[in-house]
Structure formats: C-alpha cells, structure tokens
Amino acid sequence: MKLWKSLFIGCSLVAMSAGLAFADNGDTLKDVQAKGYIQVGVNGDLFGFGKADQKGVWKGLDVDTARAVAVAVFGDYKDRLRYTPLTAKTRFTALQSKEIDVLTRNCTQTLGRDTSLGLDFVQVNYYDGQGFMVPKALGVESAKELGGATVCVLPGTTTEQNAADFFRSNNMEWKTVTIENTAELSQAFWAGRCDVLTSDASQLAGLRASAPKPEDYMILPDIISKEPLAPAVRHGDNQWKDIVNYSVLAMINAEEMGITSANVDEMLKSTDPKIQRFLGVSPGNGAALGLDEKFAYNIIKQVGNYGEVFERNVGVNTPLGIERGLNALWTDGGLMYSPPFK
C-alpha cells in the first residue's frame, strides 16, 4: 500500500499548489512592502535611460522613474530597488510572469500591447519618435534616400514594424540585420555591417554618444513614428497602477508648480492650498493611494522634478544633448501635463 500512500500525498500536494498558483494580480503593493524592495525591469544598455556606470551605479531617466516609485512606497530608494536588465524581447514576459514589479524600460505604449499583453501603461515619461542614424560618410540627407540600404534594428520592437511600414509605404527595398542585444547590434553598426541604425531618436542619441567616434555619425531629421515611452505594470492591479502613475505625475506636477529638489523644503511653508495638498501638508492624497502623505515631497526631495530628471539624464548638457521638445511642459509648448493633485 506504499504506492497508494505516495499517490495520495502527490495528489494533495498538487491540490495545495493549485490554491497558490491562482494568486491574482491585485497585491503588488503588499508584495513589495513584504519583501522590502521593488524589482524593476530596465534596459541595461541604454545610456541616458537605464545603464549602470563604471562604479555599478544605475543611471537614467527610466531608473529615476523607478526611484520615484520606490520613494513613494518606502520613503527612500536606497537599497529599495533591484534591477533586472531586459532585452526588447524578454521585457513583457518578465512582467507577465511576475519576475519584476514594474517595467521602466523605454517601452512604447500601443493599443495592441495594452490589450493583449496583460499589462497596463501609465503616464508617459518620454515622448519619442523613431529616427535613423547613418555614418556621415554615406552622404545621405533624408530617410527617403535610404532605398536599398541595410538596416540594423532590434528584433521585437515597434521600431522594427515602423521601419517595415516606412520602407513599404515609400516603395523602397531594404534589408534587415536583427540582433537581440543592443550592444552587439550597435557594434555591428559601428563596424559597417549595416548602412543605417534605426531606433527611437533618444536611443540613437544615447548610442551615438557611446560610439567610438561620435562625430562620424549623424541622426537624420526624419521622425517616422510616435513613440510614447511609458512605464508598465501588470493588468488588473489598479492600486499599484495608480501608485506608479502618480509617482511619475508628481514629478511633472512639481515642475509645473515650480517646486525643485532645492526649494521643496521652503515650499512646505507655502500658503498656496494647491502646494500644501501636493506636498502633503494638508493630508488626503497619500491616504487615497495607500501611501505616506509625504510621498510627493519625498520624490521631489530625493529624485527631483521632471525637468531636473530630464536635464540630468538626457538634457542638453549631457552627452546626449536632447532638447526638451515634446517633453517640455504643456505651458512651454510640450506635452507634459499633470492632472490636479486633489
């Protein structure tokens, strides 16, 4: 009867794990509070957005976005973030399978991804568009002259599809070289395996800055697509989505209100009720999100407002040298706009 016994044990084990396996998506906040850190999916290879420097310190716009979320949840970000570098192909699966809690990895929001991948995008943290980088020696002035070219592109990205659409609609022949790893791909491009490297314009600027001879390359003026890059969370966890969303929005709102990491302490004394509500001097917002009342104050104090984050990582004084453009506040002709914090 030994066999029956072990069979019985086996069956009950399966039945028990069934209960565990059906855990739903609705408790990411509890999960991260219990484990004490947030597992965040980042690029890993993209200067200005998500890349570790020589000392192993993570830097970039997406990294700062993740920091803002960590600060909102824990009050500080030191040792509160663990990074998972992801390729374009592995990023969504990592989020679906709960390997990571939040994905801040320059992902373009599209209808298809929003509906069929089991994830939700939140506030856009960078409005991008797809461009082309070519060696200056090629003598090309516009993307329309690229017929017959060999193009390096990351597989599994919206840029891969956009480029296909662009060449198709302009009736141009082209050839692709698709290598999964950004570093390998750009290496092939620097060596001349392809004539063109296509990606989001911000990425091209980042890659160009890391080229052996940046001055030999130029980014063509054509922008062929809309690429709203947004952090993403799992579908169905509304509280967690709100937290990530308002962490990004808090940085934008702070810039609108003129609050910076330098003056945020003074601003606490402001008599403006809007600022008082925003910084948690008059309570309400934090409790609504299930966070500390000071979450916005903490984000601004420790990470900075959106303008500061932008200038620090990708702005004109960085090797990337990107103008604010679409990423300026709506008051300055850009698209960055925050709903009221009340």
């Binding site: 969504f92 679906q96 069929s116 597989p155 599809q161 050839k175 092939a188």
Partner: protein, 392 residues
C-alpha cells in the same frame, strides 16, 4: 484450509500479478494525464485573468516585420505563419548544410589524429582541443566579428575573381541568369545520379560473380558531368550570368551569402567537428589491430584497409554518438539569435514579442525542434540498421 489457499479461483483480483500490473499502469497514466490537464487549465485560467491573448489565431495575421534572409518569397505584408515558415527553412538550411560539412570535416580530423605522420596527428589533436574547449557561443561571436571587422565596406569590396565580391555584407557571387535550360540540367543531374546508382549495383554484382573490377569512380564522374553537360549543349549552351553590381548601398543581383549565416555555419561546423573527430577516432581504435594486420597480409593497400575493413566495423561504434552530435548541431543552431541570423527561434521570438503569446510560441518552438530531432534520429537509426554486421 490448505486446499483453499492453493485454490486460484478464490484469490482476490489485486493479488493477481498481471491484473495488478495493469492497474498500476492505468493509475500512472491517469495521474500523468491529470497533471497535464491541471497545468494546461491552470495556465489558461491565469492568462484569462491577466487578459493575455491566447490561441493560434495570430498565425493568420499580418506579421509587419522584415526578415533578413529567406529561402522563399517573404515581405512584411505576409502572415506570421509565413514568417515562421521562413524561420523553419532558415534553421533547416543551416542545420542540413552544417550536418554534412561537420561530418566530413570531423571524419577527416578524426583520421588525422590517428595518422602516423607526427605533424598531421598533432594538428588533429590541437584542433580537437582548441575547438572542443571554447564555448560555441564565443566562437560564433568571434567569427561574426571577424566578418564585419576584417572585410571592407561594399564600396571597397574585395574582388578576388571577376563577379565575386567579398564585403562586410557577405559574399556576393554571380549565378546563371534564369533560363529554362537550367531546369532541364537539374533533371539531367538527377537522372545521372539514378544511372550511377544502377550501374554501381550492376558493377557490384558482376564483381561478386566474376571477381572482375569495374572503374566505377571514373565512369560515375563521367556520367555525373557528361549528362548535364550534354543537356546544356543541346539547350543552346546559355552563358548569360546574373552578376552582382554595386547599386546604391549594396550589391544587387547575383546571390549573397550573409555574414550571419557564414559565421553561424562556420562556428557550428568547427565546434561540432571536434566532437565528431573524437568519436571517429574512438570508433577506429575500437577495431582490434589484428584486423589491420590481417587485411594487410592479404595485400590490401592502407587506403583499402581503412575503407573495406576498418570503417565498416568502426561505423557501428561511430553512428550512435554521431547522431547525438548532429542533433546537438541542430539545437545549437538556435544560438543564431545572438548574431542576428533569422532562424526559427529568432522569428518565433519576435512573433511572441509582437503578439504577446509566449505559451503558443514556445510550444511551437518545442514542436519544431522535436520534429527536427526525431527525423534526424529516425534517419540515423535507419542507417545504423543498414550497416549492422550481417550475422551469417
């Protein structure tokens, strides 16, 4: 009482060994089926909860991405199904060519290691030690980098022979321009192969009967070249070539072998050949030296000894492990992803990413590789049976 115990009719059915064996098997099968059902339904429920799309409907949808090289017509306007087919064919291409080349190279190296010539045998040993001990992924990176770092851009193309261009975009070479004659020549080639097979059968029979030898090699070569050549002349000897020409960024026309394909092929062939060399060496060494001496003593030349006495026996030792090496080559070809060769894994990976349907995509990958592997095994098992020593 004693008579009751020996009475079979009275034993309970679970005390019957046969019945019990059947019950065990039914229970085990049911248990496995239950686990399978449980896993599948669990995945389905969870995916529904997370609102992840499921099903194979995406195969009919437009893929909207390009693939670098393809054996069949393909464009971004085609369906995912066709894109996946392109991937399967690309994997087949590199695997089949790789298997043939690596078997030849591995055999040569294996024989080399046993050579009585010091230089040749040391070369063989060094080759095996070098390629066997470097991870194949590193070798792929190395050969790929070699291609794009060493060879010039298209405008400074190397031009070793008229019409052949070597660049960091691969090797461009001319092919005969389309002409109906080439179809007939292909048929003539197939016909030549059949004729050779028939003649060979006749020659073997004749030798067995009368002991007379027939110069099969030269006759065969003559037929193989002569028949297609004759067809070519009869069809008006078309000489028009489709020569690659530098137009814009790249060479147009002719055929191109891409650096990705070349690097993958070279990497896989060199790596796998080192293992096959060891298998071949072991196989040959497993044949007792007395066989060689016996063969020599009846006056066979060393080449004939190898061909007629040693190899037929060694093959029985060689073929089973050789099969697993060839399967390894097929499976290792999925490393293509790293150097941008659009094999099945890469296309399926992109498909998974665009559609978000990882479960279906991974299932397809498993089915495809399983099919490749089972087919290879089936072929090798058939071959293994064929070369078995006939018991007399």
């Amino acid at each position: 009482m004693a008579s009751e115990q020996t009475n079979n009719a009275k034993t309970y059915f679970w005390n019957d060994e046969k019945t019990r064996a059947i019950i065990y098997q039914i229970v085990t099968a049911a248990f496995v089926a239950f686990i399978g059902y449980y896993l599948i339904s669990n995945v389905q429920t969870n995916m529904e909860k997370q609102s992840i799309a499921s099903g194979f409907g995406f195969i009919e949808k437009e893929a909207a991405f390009e693939i670098g090289e393809s054996l069949v017509e393909y464009s971004a306007a085609d369906t995912y199904g066709r894109a996946l087919l392109v991937g399967v064919l690309n994997t087949l291409k590199v695997s089949l060519v790789g298997m043939i080349l690596t078997t030849i190279l591995g055999t040569i190296i294996g024989v080399c290691t046993l050579s009585s010539n010091w230089l040749i045998s040391k070369f063989g040993t060094m080759y095996v030690e070098l390629f066997q001990n470097i991870p194949v992924l590193l070798q792929l990176f190395f050969f790929y980098a070699l291609f794009y770092e060493i060879f010039p851009a298209p405008r400074q193309a190397l031009n070793p022979v008229t019409g052949v261009f070597i660049t960091n975009r691969g090797i461009d070479f001319p092919v005969p321009a389309p002409d109906p004659a080439w179809g007939y020549i292909g048929l003539a080639f197939v016909a030549a192969c059949i004729v050779i097979w028939l003649v060979n059968r006749w020659a073997v029979k004749r030798q067995e009967r009368s002991g007379q030898q027939f110069p099969m090699f030269w006759v065969g070569l003559g037929i193989l070249i002569g028949l297609p050549l004759l067809t070519w002349i009869l069809n008006g000897a078309p000489t028009q070539m489709d020569v690659p020409v530098l137009k814009g960024f790249n060479f147009q026309g002719g055929r191109n072998i891409s650096p990705e394909f070349s690097a993958l092929l070279i990497g896989l062939v060199l790596y796998t050949a080192s293992f096959i060399a060891q298998i071949v060496r072991a196989g040959i060494q497993s044949i007792s030296h007395g066989q060689t001496e016996a063969a020599m003593s009846i006056g066979l030349k060393p080449g004939m000894v190898l061909k007629l006495v040693i190899f037929p026996q060694a093959l029985r030792v060689i073929v089973p492990p050789l099969t697993s090496q060839l399967l390894n080559l097929t499976k290792n070809s999925s490393l293509a992803v790293a150097i941008g060769y659009p094999d099945f894994v890469q296309v399926a990976g992109t498909t998974i990413n665009q559609t978000g349907q990882a479960v279906e995509g991974v299932a397809m990958m498993m089915v495809v590789y399983l099919t490749f592997s089972l087919l290879t095994s089936a072929f090798m098992n058939w071959y293994n049976k064929k070369i078995k020593i006939v018991e007399r």
